[in-house]
Structures are given as structure tokens and as C-alpha cells.
């Protein structure tokens, strides 16, 4: 099987990397242990769901097409890692992580995509989220609860919306939007805080 989400994930990672490195974001170490689930769907109107509750879990979900939906739930006591790639319009991704420590990589390419993401780590654990969206009219909502939260979010497109809530100690957020007609930025942090925000008009023109 050849996964095609690699370009999306590469986009998500690279898009936030420059901001993260400049801001001194912590390094993320990901170990592959526990359960592994991989779903790949090519087409429209598909639905994928991964539910991992046993120890550590690693979930990879790749959807190519429009109108797809993805749900990922990870609640094991160990380490939870999720990678979600959606290429197409009007896709929806929902994620809930409540393990010991959680990491997320999300890449969406297309218009009108939505992502709703919640990460809650155990005491002493941490959350890391790398989010990238390319296209107009996308929205991403991220809530992190726990110690050592890190959020790296990048959107490229007009009218994209983001929201971020971080509760806990040692929070870090790197937040980048490139596009026009951006809505009001919504960020709420509690605990030790650090944030970098970049908002700029599209270098490709636009309204």
C-alpha cells in the first residue's frame, strides 16, 4: 500500500517548522509502540474511524477526495500518536486524545475543511500538535490540556479560521496565517506561556 498523505504531512510539518524553530519549540520524540492502525480511502463521502484504548496507539488516516470524515479517539494510558491527511474539499476531521502523552500531525489540503482537535494528557505528560491547512475557508480548532503543551498551526488561504485553547503549564504556541479576509484570532493560554503569531496577506494576491 502506498500512502499518499506524505505530501500533506510534509506540508504541515514544513509549514510550521520555520515558525517553530525560530521560536525555539521543543523537540518531539515519537516512539512506535503499541497498537498500529492505518486507513487509506480514495474517493468521496467516505468515513473512517479509529478508536485506540489499549496502552499506546499509533493511528494513520489518509483520505483523498471530497466530503470525507475522519474520527480518531486515543485513550490508552501510554503514548498516543495520530497522523491525519485529507486531500479534497469539505472534509471533516475530529480527534480526541486523552492518553499519557499525545502527539498529532494534521494536514488538510482543499477548501472548506474543518478540524476539531482535543488533547488531554496525564499529569507529567504533554501534548504536541502540528496542524497545517492549505486552501480557503478552512477552520481548525485545537484544545490542549496538560503539562508541556505545544501547538504549531499554519494556514495558507483566504478566510481561514483558527482557535487555540491551552490549559496547563509550559505552553507554547506558534501560530501562522497567510491569507486575506482572516477572521478574528482566538487564543487562550493559561500557565507558563509562550506564543508567536504571524498573520500576513497572501503573497499570491487575492482580496
Amino acid at each position: 500500500m502506498t500512502l499518499t498523505l506524505a505530501p500533506l504531512i510534509a506540508f504541515a510539518v514544513l509549514a510550521v517548522a520555520s515558525v517553530a524553530c525560530a521560536a525555539g519549540a521543543p523537540q518531539v520524540a515519537i516512539d512506535q509502540i503499541g497498537s498500529l492502525a492505518v486507513i487509506q480511502q480514495n474517493g468521496t463521502g467516505n468515513h473512517a474511524s479509529i478508536d485506540q484504548s489499549n496502552g499506546s496507539g499509533d493511528a494513520t488516516l489518509d483520505q483523498n477526495g471530497a466530503g470525507n470524515s475522519a474520527d480518531v479517539t486515543q485513550s490508552g494510558s501510554g503514548f498516543g500518536h495520530a497522523t491525519i491527511g485529507q486531500d479534497g474539499a469539505a472534509n471533516v476531521a475530529n480527534l480526541v486524545q486523552s492518553g499519557g502523552s499525545n502527539t498529532l500531525v494534521l494536514g488538510q489540503s482543499g477548501t472548506g475543511n474543518q478540524a476539531s482537535l482535543q488533547q488531554t494528557s496525564a499529569p507529567g505528560g504533554g501534548n504536541v500538535a502540528l496542524i497545517g491547512q492549505a486552501g480557503a475557508g478552512n477552520s481548525a480548532s485545537l484544545a490542549q490540556t496538560g503539562d508541556d503543551n505545544t501547538a504549531l498551526q499554519t494556514q495558507i488561504g483566504d478566510g481561514d479560521a483558527q482557535s487555540l485553547v491551552q490549559n496547563g503549564d509550559n505552553n507554547f504556541a506558534a501560530y501562522s496565517q497567510i491569507g486575506n479576509n482572516l477572521p478574528d484570532l482566538a487564543i487562550r493560554q493559561s500557565g507558563g506561556m509562550s506564543i508567536t503569531i504571524i498573520q500576513t496577506g497572501s503573497p499570491f494576491g487575492g482580496h
Partner: protein
């Protein structure tokens, strides 16, 4: 009615009945016995009068039994007390045939071949231990490093291995090969190192068939293979031994259902619905076929350290994988639209 009864060793019995409404009974005790029952009423594939009955009982070692029937027939073979290294071969054509084979020893081999008919049923029960050598089956289709499926070509000999071009078979295991509609093939095995194969259809528009394989009670290192070509088929594989066991279910058609249940850990399951052409998991078809739709697949693995690969090529398919043990791996690949994939771990 014809009957033959032998209590010694190295006996041979041949019964030929070229008529309808016949009954044949063979009982052989001792070792190295052979029996052949032919109730053919003519050439294979021809419609003939029904209702021949064959009952055979071999109780020694190294015996072999062959039953060939054309018509609405029934065959019953028992190779039970003190038996091992025995062979049972049944070939039936036309409609509403039934075959039952019971083998209790080790290293047993059973084949039921039912072709060019509908409403046939085959049941094989093996409670002994295999020898782990599941091949070779020249002319069979290989599935991965270990698993093969057997399938005769249409209009070939009723009996496997009888003429050139038909299926050769391995030394042990149970094989059911059926073509047509509304057939059922069931294999029940206990022990270890067993091999079971149910193949239904061969590009002949077969439909509404049921394939069932159960490998239970102390089974491990056992292989189960099902192949169904057509629509509205159901495949069920249940491996509940101490593992590791392996299974592959192929379904080439619409509205098929496949169910795999494995327990006790370190098991492997592959389900392919539609010919992807990828050959990733031993697909027999080198080029992609027409995507098939509305299929359903379910995998339930409860031991831990299990692996599941599910591939569905068309639309409106559903794939459900439940792995309740730790350190398991699940892969679902779906092409087409309006599919649903669910993984519970």
C-alpha cells in the same frame, strides 16, 4: 444395493452403479485398504436421475476412499477409529448433492469437489493433527508465503487430480471446491498444523454461497483460505486455538460478506474484496478488476500481537476491525466512495 465389508489389511473394493436410486455401502477395518464407489450414470456434467447413496466406513490406517457421483446424490465417509494417513475424495456433479466426511486421525486428507450444480452441501470434519506440509498444489493460486487456494477449472473432472489441468493437492488438509449457486461448504478442524480451503465459483457467475471454516480447540499453526467469485456470498473463518494462525478470504463480487475471528494472539488475517491488482497480500489477479461494491468485512482479533489487512476496491463498502489485545496492527485500504472504515484497538 451393493455392499462390501472387509476386516483385514490391504483389501480393495470397487463398486460401480450405472443407474438411479442405488445405494452402496463399504466397511473396511484394518490398514492399507482402498475403496472406490462410482455412481455416475454417465459422463460428468450430464443431467441424470437422482438419488444415489454411498456410505463408507474405514477404520484402519493408510486407507483411501473415492466416491464419484452424478445426480442428486449423497455421500458419507467415516475414517475414524485408529485411522491416520487416510485419504477421502468425493466428486459430485449436478444439483442438490451432499457430502460429509469425518476423519479423526492425524495427517488426513479430504477433498469434496462439487461442480456444475446448485444447492450442494459439503462438510468435512477433521479432529487430528496435520503434518504441517500444506503443499504443493500445482495449479493452485498462492497467497503469500504459506497459503494457497485450490480451484478446479470449469467442466474439468469431478475428482481433483484426476486428469491433466485439474487441481493437484497436498498431502494433508481439507478442501472444498464448489461451483454454482446456493452451495455451502463447511470445514471443522481441531489439532495443529491444519490446512483448510473452501473455494466457490470460478468466473461462472456463482452466487449465494456460504463458506465456513472453524479451526478450534488447541489449533495453532493452522491455515484457512476461502475464495468466492460471485455475489451475495458469505465467508466465515473462526480460529480459536492457541495461535498463531493464518487466514485469507478473497471475495470477487458485489454484496459479499466476510467475517474473521481469531483469538489467543499472534494471528494474521487478510481479507480482499475485489481484485486490486496490487498483489500485496497474495492477490491472484495481476491486473485490477472491476471494483466491487457493497461488501462488508469484519475482523475480530482478541489475543494481542495480531495483524489484520483489509482491502476493499469499490464503493459503499464497510470494513470493521476490532483488536482487543495489545500491540496489534490493522490496515484498511478502500477505493471508491461512500465507504466506512472502523478500527477499534
Amino acid at each position: 444395493m451393493a455392499g462390501a465389508a472387509f476386516a483385514g489389511n490391504d483389501n480393495s473394493a470397487t463398486i460401480s452403479q450405472i443407474d438411479s436410486y442405488n445405494s452402496a455401502s463399504v466397511t473396511q477395518g484394518g490398514s492399507d485398504n482402498q475403496a472406490t464407489v462410482v455412481q455416475s450414470q454417465g459422463a460428468f456434467g450430464a443431467q441424470r436421475n437422482p438419488s444415489n447413496i454411498s456410505n463408507s466406513d474405514q477404520e484402519g490406517e493408510n486407507g483411501s476412499l473415492s466416491v464419484i457421483q452424478v445426480g442428486n446424490n449423497s455421500s458419507s465417509i467415516s475414517q475414524l477409529d485408529g485411522s491416520s494417513n487416510e485419504i477421502a475424495l468425493v466428486g459430485q456433479s449436478n444439483n442438490f448433492n451432499s457430502s460429509t466426511i469425518s476423519q479423526a486421525g492425524s495427517s488426513e486428507f479430504a477433498v469434496v469437489n462439487q461442480e456444475e450444480g446448485t444447492g450442494n452441501s459439503a462438510s468435512i470434519v477433521q479432529h487430528g493433527t496435520g503434518d504441517g506440509a500444506n503443499g504443493p498444489q500445482s495449479g493452485a493460486v498462492r497467497a503469500g508465503p504459506d497459503l494457497w487456494r485450490n480451484e478446479n477449472v470449469p467442466s474439468d473432472s469431478v475428482l481433483a487430480g484426476a486428469i491433466t489441468g485439474s487441481t493437484d493437492y497436498g498431502p494433508v488438509g481439507a478442501i472444498v471446491d464448489q461451483q454454482g449457486f446456493n452451495n455451502s461448504g463447511a470445514i471443522n478442524q481441531r489439532g495443529l498444523d491444519n490446512f483448510a480451503d473452501v473455494s466457490q465459483g470460478n468466473q461462472d457467475g456463482s452466487a449465494n454461497n456460504i463458506a465456513s471454516i472453524s479451526q478450534s480447540s488447541s489449533v495453532m499453526f493452522s491455515d484457512a483460505v476461502t475464495y468466492q467469485d460471485g455475489q451475495n456470498n458469505i465467508a466465515s473463518i473462526n480460529q480459536s486455538g492457541s495461535g498463531p494462525d493464518y487466514s485469507i478470504a478473497w471475495q470477487i463480487g458485489n454484496s459479499n460478506q466476510a467475517y474473521t475471528t481469531q483469538s489467543h494472539g499472534s494471528n494474521s488475517s487478510v481479507i480482499e474484496q475485489g481484485a486490486s491488482g496490487l498483489g500485496t497480500y497474495g492477490n491472484a489477479v495481476p491486473t485490477p478488476g472491476t471494483p466491487v461494491t457493497s461488501d462488508y468485512a469484519s475482523v475480530d482479533q482478541s489475543g494481542g500481537g495480531d495483524s489484520s489487512h483489509l482491502q476493499q476496491t469499490g464503493s459503499e463498502d464497510t470494513g470493521l476491525v476490532t483488536q482487543s489485545g495489545a500491540n496489534s496492527t490493522s490496515t484498511i485500504t478502500q477505493g471508491g466512495s461512500f465507504n466506512t472504515a472502523v478500527v477499534h484497538q
